[in-house]
């Protein structure tokens, strides 16, 4: 009878595998920065390792007639390259490594999350915020480097009369500042919500099966969990794609400010 209740949030808990040490602080417990190798770090390393293995193994033979693995690698490259070329333009191809790395990392991290007992890296806001900030800072720094003060034309749409410009510019600035927020919130929210819903339906199945005759009803949440699993695989791929496309859209603005 002493079964522990199913917590939908438990799957996102960060656990330390081994400590690296405390930095800073005044020696009292809880002060300073505590560094440890966590399950999140482990799965980030696994994600990067899988991406690296896929790309290195796929491209090390360089056959004229590609094998299966090489074909998959080439199709992945073509997919990302076409996305960058279509969305960011031809001069955006210099950002292909950035967009490709982000896309592959998010995609593999999301798909890792679909395995039971695996930790989902992208279900933590800090990870998605850092990725969104990398994109945001790249846009700002490269935009000013490439266009100089003309980058500020991004906030001043052309063809606006002077008496309304003082209202439009703050709105445009807020709209620009909201980009990293929506960029990171969307990925995080999708992944988090999906995993919680999966866990809730899974928990319902277990709870109903333990309730005698009610076990027959357990078919309903079980079917829902199966359907949600399929949907979550779609969301995992879709959100990685959306993240990469929006990166391209923002980079396009950095190169061509002014609408």
């Amino acid at each position: 009878m002493a079964e522990k209740p199913i917590e939908p949030i438990h799957q996102f808990r960060i656990t330390d595998y081994f400590d690296i040490g405390n930095f800073g602080g005044d020696g009292t417990p809880g002060s300073g920065i505590h560094l440890a190798f966590t399950n999140s770090a482990l799965f980030m390393i696994l994600t990067v390792g899988l991406v690296l293995a896929f790309l290195v193994l796929g491209s090390n033979r360089r056959a004229i007639v590609p094998g299966r693995l090489q074909l998959m690698t080439e199709m992945t490259y073509e997919f990302v390259a076409n996305m960058v070329r279509n969305t960011a333009g031809h001069d955006g191809m210099k950002f292909l490594p950035l967009v490709g790395s982000l896309f592959m990392f998010v995609l593999i991290a999301n798909l890792f999350g679909m395995f039971p007992y695996f930790f989902t890296v992208t279900s933590h806001l800090i990870v998605t915020v850092m990725m969104a900030l990398i994109v945001f800072l790249t846009v700002v720094i490269y935009g000013f480097y490439k266009n100089g003060p003309r980058f500020l034309k991004l906030f001043v749409p052309s063809g606006i009369p002077w008496y309304i410009i003082w209202l439009v510019v703050p709105i445009e600035i807020l709209s620009f500042l909201s980009r990293p927020v929506s960029h990171s919130l969307r990925l995080w929210g999708n992944v988090l919500a999906g995993h919680i819903v999966l866990k809730v339906f899974g928990g319902m199945v277990v709870a109903l099966l333990g309730a005698g005759a009610w076990g027959l009803v357990a078919v309903l949440p079980f079917g829902m969990a199966v359907a949600m699993t399929g949907l979550e695989v779609l969301v995992a791929a879709l959100q990685a794609f959306v993240f990469a496309v929006l990166t391209c859209v923002y980079l396009h603005d950095a190169m061509h400010p002014g609408h």
């Binding site: 076409n82 709105i171 807020l174 500042l177 909201s178 927020v181 969307r186 879709l238 959100q239 496309v245």
Partner: protein, 127 residues
Amino acid sequence: MSEPRDEKRPDTGSAAGKATADLGARIARARGQRAADAATEQTRTGDMSGMGRGFRLASEFVAAILVGAGLGYIIDMFLPTRPWATVVLLLLGFAAGVLNVVRATRELNADTAVPSDTPALRDDEDD
């Protein structure tokens, strides 16, 4: 596994020459094809599920309001303007959110554009 069949190349001089005679033209044609494909590629990859679209628009809207309110709150913490910066920036954030949604919708609509050979409907306003 598939090996590159390089060993055949030297002794099929004429045949190989024929096979690669129009190679330049084929590469040029493939390059031209890429530009033509770009248009159709856009509609294919721009396709998202309805839920994807919904999340996209919702997060664009909410993010702008959060940023506006947050920025206003921070300004109010350091300047003696409480509560006016929060109020004004919240409203501006609301406007920016609407702007974001309009932009995102225009982008999504452009991805699934009506084909250009669709016959135009007669517009009553034009009379």
